[in-house]
């Protein structure tokens, strides 16, 4: 039996559920938007894997029956407001709910896509860059600094072809460093920022599903194609084959991070080099599947159906 944990309003979770249904793979849905309301959770652990059950409005599954779990955690915005709870208590309750689910999933012997622990490198892009280097992919020349002079030197060294973006998992739009930003460099003294040499070329989004690789080439004139329309730029997406060594590096990277499913952001330069920017442990792949018709969700459904006994990693 497959368990899907996520939000009803989340289109990615919705696609996973739809694909499981289309494949006629039985699954149960734990709606994290309302959890724990309407659900029963009961698990016991001592010196072995957790034992117990989960139940919903019209179903109950023993934890031992699970072959695979797909989970996409929700932010506060994805949840139904808690009735009769003081506003200041809400974040603590949400944290307790998520901890209960993640700690259970962390310790289950079945396949979990993905456990929370391995994906936490996503909170630090330079940490991921260190992992990327170990897997044979290129990482862009990067400067992390709180020193305005160092930032200015880096800017000059790359002839002004420099972008800046967040270091952490906080979503940010990648932007070029221009005169307006240069004037604000003295503010760096209050905290570090990340600058990178601008890498020309096309973005390539790679989804790895266990040992399968789906690559999408994105052609856009926007610096950050995710926000192309906002900049008045077009986006064209095509399924592509990666060179074998690049595909193998992507698989190695996902494996090394303990991710059964990953979204890896690459850039293909005019010199046919592949640079890697980051790895998303909970990729929103709907956008790419819709544009290229690659069977990403079908591969994910097959993986969840087949399952596997894995040693939980943290």
């Amino acid at each position: 039996m497959i368990l899907v944990c996520g939000g009803l309003a989340d289109v990615v979770t919705e696609l996973v559920c739809a694909r499981l249904s289309a494949c006629e793979y039985a699954y149960r849905f734990l709606d994290l938007g309302v959890y724990p309301a309407g659900f029963q959770v009961n698990w016991y652990c001592h010196d072995a894997y957790p034992e117990g059950y989960l139940s919903g409005p019209d179903w109950r599954i023993d934890l031992a029956e699970l072959t695979g779990v797909y989970v996409r955690y929700l932010g506060a915005e994805g949840r139904v407001p808690l009735p009769n709870v003081p506003q200041e208590s809400v974040p603590a309750l949400y944290a307790e709910y998520d901890a209960g689910i993640s700690l259970l999933l962390e310790d289950l012997p079945c396949l979990v896509v993905n456990r929370l622990g391995p994906g936490m490198s996503n909170h630090s892009k330079p940490y991921q860059a260190l992992l990327v280097r170990e897997c044979g992919l290129l990482t862009p020349p990067t400067l992390v600094t709180n020193d305005p002079d160092s930032a200015r030197r880096f800017f000059d060294e790359w002839h002004g072809e420099v972008i800046y973006k967040s270091l952490s998992g906080v979503r940010s739009i990648v932007r070029r460093l221009g005169p307006e930003q240069l004037e604000r460099l003295p503010l760096l003294r209050h905290g570090p920022a990340q600058f990178q040499a601008y890498i020309p070329g096309d973005n390539v989004r790679v989804h790895t599903v266990d040992d399968r690789v789906f690559a999408t080439r994105v052609r856009s004139t926007a610096v950050d194609y995710r926000y192309a329309r906002r900049e008045g730029a077009d986006v064209q997406m095509d399924a592509v084959e990666l060179p074998p060594h690049v595909a193998e590096s992507c698989l190695r990277l996902a494996r090394q991070m303990g991710l059964h499913f990953a979204g890896i952001d690459l850039k293909l330069t005019p010199r046919d080099e592949y640079y890697c920017f980051e790895v998303n442990p909970s990729p929103g792949f709907l956008f790419y599947e819709q544009h290229t018709y690659q069977p990403i969700s079908a591969a994910l459904a097959d993986l969840l159906h087949q399952g596997e006994l894995t040693s939980p990693t943290v």
Binding site: V41, G100, L103, P118, Y127, T139, P140
Partner: protein
């Protein structure tokens, strides 16, 4: 120079600094090396990782930093910050510091992995897979929002002669002894809001710091506690922690791990134990095995 990341008020940092000075080494306590008055600069590409850290009064290129003790996560003083800006700059600082520490080729105690770095306080339930893999027991635990199963758990405890249970929220280090009927009534009420985590009660715990391959017990350990030292060492190694505090207690006639602190609470230890911890930390940082024990992720750091 040795960099001690933490507060001047942290007795561990000041103790290690004193001990390093006594042995002729230079050491500096720094709360956050990524904000003023520090000037931090780290260049990273496919083949190189080069960083520099300087202050107004001196410049220490990273080649001269011989080791790092990590006692804090580079927190930022909230004074003067808007709440949302503070959250952002804090996240950015933590992200940079985690990666930079991972990149250093010198000994770093502890070189945290992200799952630990971003969760400075973790329930014992989190550590169970690692502890179990190393042959260490944790107290039987129930997580439930089902009244009848919770009350069955209570009956099981009572049948084994236990005086009650411990209620331990998964996201805080607080714990409450459930001994009276009204305590259990309260638990059932809480369960209407959230699943609760209940564990077996245990005796007064004894704590030990594993520092490299040294064990510093807070008080004289029970005879069978020393028998688990090898398992504790395996656990510390498996979790990548060269410095970790572990609490052990007897429950149901067996010795269980009841808490793991990957940011050890040095101040909770006796003076004698604190001296032992400091000595072990200094040995870990400057001793001949320091580099081999505390490897980095840097492929080519210059």
């Amino acid at each position: 120079m040795y960099l001690l990341l933490g507060s001047e008020r942290d007795p561990c940092c000041s103790g290690v600094r004193r001990a390093l000075h006594a042995r002729g080494y230079t050491a500096r306590i720094v709360e956050n090396p990524l904000i003023q008055p520090a000037r931090f600069s780290w260049r990273l590409d496919s083949a190189h990782s080069v960083s520099r850290l300087a202050w107004d009064d001196e410049q220490a290129e990273i080649a001269t930093i011989e080791g790092v003790l990590v006692r804090g996560g580079g927190w930022i003083d909230p004074a003067g910050w808007r709440l949302d800006d503070l959250a952002y700059v804090q996240a950015e600082t933590q992200a940079a510091l985690l990666a930079w520490l991972a990149s250093l080729s010198c000994p770093v105690v502890n070189r945290y992995q992200p799952a630990l770095w971003y969760r400075p306080q973790l329930s014992i339930v989190f550590w169970r897979p690692w502890l179990r893999a190393c042959g260490l027991l944790t107290p039987p635990t129930l997580v439930s929002n089902v009244e009848q199963d919770t009350l069955a758990f209570r009956r099981g405890l009572a049948a084994e002669g236990n005086p009650g249970a411990i209620l331990r929220p998964l996201t805080s280090d607080q714990q409450y002894l459930l001994a009276r009927d009204e305590d259990w009534t309260g638990v059932v009420a809480v369960q209407t809001r959230t699943p609760v985590c209940l564990t077996y009660p245990h005796d007064e715990p004894v704590t030990v710091c594993v520092v490299g391959d040294q064990f510093v017990w807070n008080v004289d350990p029970p005879a069978d506690a020393t028998a688990v030292e090898q398992a504790l060492y395996r656990f510390a190694t498996a979790s990548g922690l060269a410095f970790v505090e572990i609490a052990l207690a007897r429950a149901s006639d067996a010795l269980h791990v009841v808490a793991v602190e990957h940011f050890p609470h040095f101040e909770r230890f006796t003076k004698a134990a604190q001296e032992g911890i400091v000595a072990a930390l200094v040995e870990l940082l400057v001793g001949p095995g320091a580099r081999s024990q505390l490897g980095s992720m840097a492929q080519a750091t210059t």
